[in-house]
């Protein structure tokens, strides 16, 4: 199996008075391409910081990160932006759709940035909307969509350009039980159909249950790392 993400001795220290906060403390791990991984742990355990560092949204204090075969810690902001555009999709806890764009425009955002022609963009988004139950909602602005619908648009935005890796930060936290299950179905299907690697941070037992690998963080370190088929991986 190829490696989608690899971190070695990853640290994130926030300078703060009187004592610096060590949010991530020397995490080394690998995530295989096509895996469906949940990162769990209590608040402040370093889940979101890990996702942000892997996505190049914040730089580690020490250590290295590879996305595929590219080491990203020394990349410029511009190169990181290009890497995210080409290889990483984000799904956020509070959806974070752009309120001035319609559902369709939000979903095709990354395709637009990549310069995909309009007809091709529309075709891809409409097919995806059909697959994840958003047909008919294309022209609605985010304010006119339910939480579950908004999160599905956010997922569509994240996956439409076929990135190798989706980073999802507590994607079900603001959803009810049914919407959460529906969303997980969508993401699992996309994972299986396209081989997209998913890495979640979550508190949600349903997400942990559906994941094929569960990494548990405590105080910025990996406490456990287990395969859901009960084969455990050493931290």
């Amino acid at each position: 199996m190829k490696t989608a993400v690899r971190t070695t001795n990853l640290w994130k220290i926030y300078p703060q008075e009187p004592d610096p906060v060590e949010a991530v403390r020397g995490i080394s791990t690998e995530i295989e391409t096509g895996d469906f991984v949940a990162m769990a742990g209590p608040s402040g355990s370093g889940k979101t910081t890990m996702l942000n560092m892997i996505g190049g949204l914040t730089r580690p204090s020490r250590g290295q990160i590879w996305i595929g075969d590219r080491e990203i810690t020394e990349m410029s902001d511009k190169d990181l932006a290009q890497l995210r555009l080409e290889r990483i999709g984000f799904v956020f806890q509070s959806y974070n759709l752009l309120p001035v764009l319609t559902a369709l425009e939000n979903a095709e955002f990354t395709l637009l940035l990549s310069g995909v022609p309009k007809d091709e963009r529309r075709k891809k988004v409409l097919e995806l909307f059909d697959k994840i139950g958003l047909s008919g909602l294309e022209d609605r602005k985010p304010g006119k969509l339910s939480g579950g619908q908004q999160q599905r648009v956010a997922v569509a935005r994240a996956v439409v350009a076929n990135p190798a890796l989706i980073l999802a930060d507590e994607p079900t936290a603001n959803l009810d039980s049914k919407a959460s299950t529906d969303l997980l179905d969508v993401m699992e299907r996309l994972n299986q159909d396209h081989g997209t690697t998913f890495l979640f941070s979550t508190h949600d037992p349903r997400v942990m249950e559906r994941s094929r690998r569960l990494i548990t963080l405590v105080d910025g370190q990996i406490e456990s790392d287990e395969r859901r088929n009960h084969s455990s991986v050493s931290p």
């Binding site: 949204l57 902001d77 290009q82 555009l85 309120p99 001035v100 637009l112 940035l113």
Partner: protein, 419 residues
């Protein structure tokens, strides 16, 4: 290209997210445009007023003299020398020029005016009563009496001169003046009119006689004149017209000097240049003030959208792309403001231009650099002022967007997403 359109679309829609704020900001810029154009227009109106009053009253916009007449104003240095020139032919040559609207000949001399026991030194000015009104308003400034009739030994004086002499209409005034032949000319002239120009230097010192009467008094033939005064369509264009006319007349055998009012009244010309230059300062000050307001509003908008900028960054937009959308907002805001500004400015400008505001009940007139300023607030419009103001407005909206744009590019995505 497609994502360029995306950024314009995002910028446009962002502006209308807070409709009231955008409208207030655009109104501020539009009124800044109105203010800049009107202030420049009023200033231009004052300039035109000063130039017109400085030139139309007596100076004219262009003057022709014998090349050695100025600055001493020697009475012997008439155009064409001692022999003079055929006046009709010379005036016809001058008025044949496209930009010349009218021309009138003059003779000058120094002399004494006596009435009863009073004697006053005076500048004697011989004018053509028919041609002079076509180039200056001097003869229209009569407050009593009538204008001159050539060959009737009549005189006009300023109201202050008449008061100093104690003369009234119909009185006979003795005029004594050195003649060109070395003798002392003297004669009686009937006071037929009294002038009030509002310029003390004229009202106290000048006496106007008909051209042939003064020529006769100074023993000068009818071909001899000191000056041809010319009026042109556009006073600001006088230096160019003087140059063209100078070249044209240099073909003749008469050595003449052609001067525009800017040469003859450099202090007035300098004042005009100063006021012209101040227009740019006015525009800079007005839009400089507006810039801080716009920047503040856009900065607030940027802070409110920190999270959105972070999301856009996370989706793969380079920092410069984020800054660009904020700049585009500034450009669109500038365009909206310019359209609104033009719509409110032009009707006011045209109305004010056609109906100057009369301030005579508030202030009286005064003279500046030898030119009388009437208490009338008039507006002149030019192509330059609206263009400069439009550029000022655009620069303001773009410059005001630059700092917020830079701040937007500096939003740390992870921190903003955690807010």
């Amino acid at each position: 290209m497609a994502h360029e359109r995306l950024w314009w679309r995002v910028a446009w829609r962002n502006l209308w997210r807070n409709r009231l704020r955008t409208l207030i900001t655009a109104s501020g810029l539009a009124f800044g445009y109105l203010g800049a154009v009107l202030v420049v227009g009023v200033s231009d109106g004052m300039l035109v007023e000063l130039i017109e009053n400085g030139t139309r009253l007596m100076l004219g916009e262009v003057q022709v003299h014998s090349e050695d007449y100025l600055p001493e104003r020697n009475m012997h240095h008439t155009i064409g020398g001692y022999g003079g020139t055929d006046l009709e032919i010379f005036i016809s040559r001058v008025t044949s020029q496209e930009d010349v609207s009218g021309a009138a000949p003059r003779v000058y001399g120094g002399g004494l005016l006596s009435y009863g026991e009073e004697t006053q030194a005076a500048l004697l000015m011989g004018v053509d009563p028919d041609r002079e009104p076509r180039v200056t308003t001097l003869l229209s400034r009569l407050v009593s009496g009538r204008t001159l009739v050539a060959g009737a030994n009549e005189i006009l004086v300023g109201d202050e001169m008449a008061e100093q002499l104690g003369a009234v209409l119909g009185d006979e005034i003795v005029v004594v003046a050195p003649s060109s032949d070395g003798s002392l000319g003297n004669d009686l002239f009937t006071l037929v009119g009294i002038l009030d120009t509002g310029i003390p230097a004229i009202d106290q010192n000048y006496a106007l006689l008909a051209l042939p009467d003064l020529q006769f008094l100074m023993a000068m033939g009818p071909t001899r004149i000191h000056e041809v005064v010319i009026t042109v369509g556009n006073a600001k264009d006088s230096p160019r017209i003087a140059g063209v006319l100078g070249e044209f007349l240099s073909d003749s055998e008469l050595p003449v000097q052609v001067s525009s009012w800017t040469d003859l009244r450099p202090e007035l010309a300098e004042m005009v240049s100063l006021m012209d230059a101040s227009h740019f300062i006015i525009v800079i000050v007005i839009f400089g003030m507006a810039a801080f307001g716009v920047a503040n509003t856009m900065l607030i908008g940027t802070f409110e959208r920190r999270r959105e900028f972070a999301v856009i960054r996370a989706l793969g937009t380079a920092p410069i792309g984020i800054g660009r959308t904020v700049i585009y907002e500034g450009i669109i805001l500038g365009m909206i403001s310019l359209i609104a500004g033009a719509l409110i400015t032009w009707p006011i400008l045209v109305w004010w231009h056609n109906s100057p505001i009369d301030l005579t009940t508030v202030i009286s007139g005064f003279s500046v650099a030898g030119a009388q300023w009437r208490p009338v607030l008039r507006v002149e419009y030019s192509v330059q002022a609206p263009i400069v103001a439009a550029l000022g407005l655009f620069l303001t909206s773009i410059l005001a967007a630059m700092y917020p744009a830079w701040k937007a590019t500096r939003v740390p995505p992870a921190d903003a997403l955690a807010d």
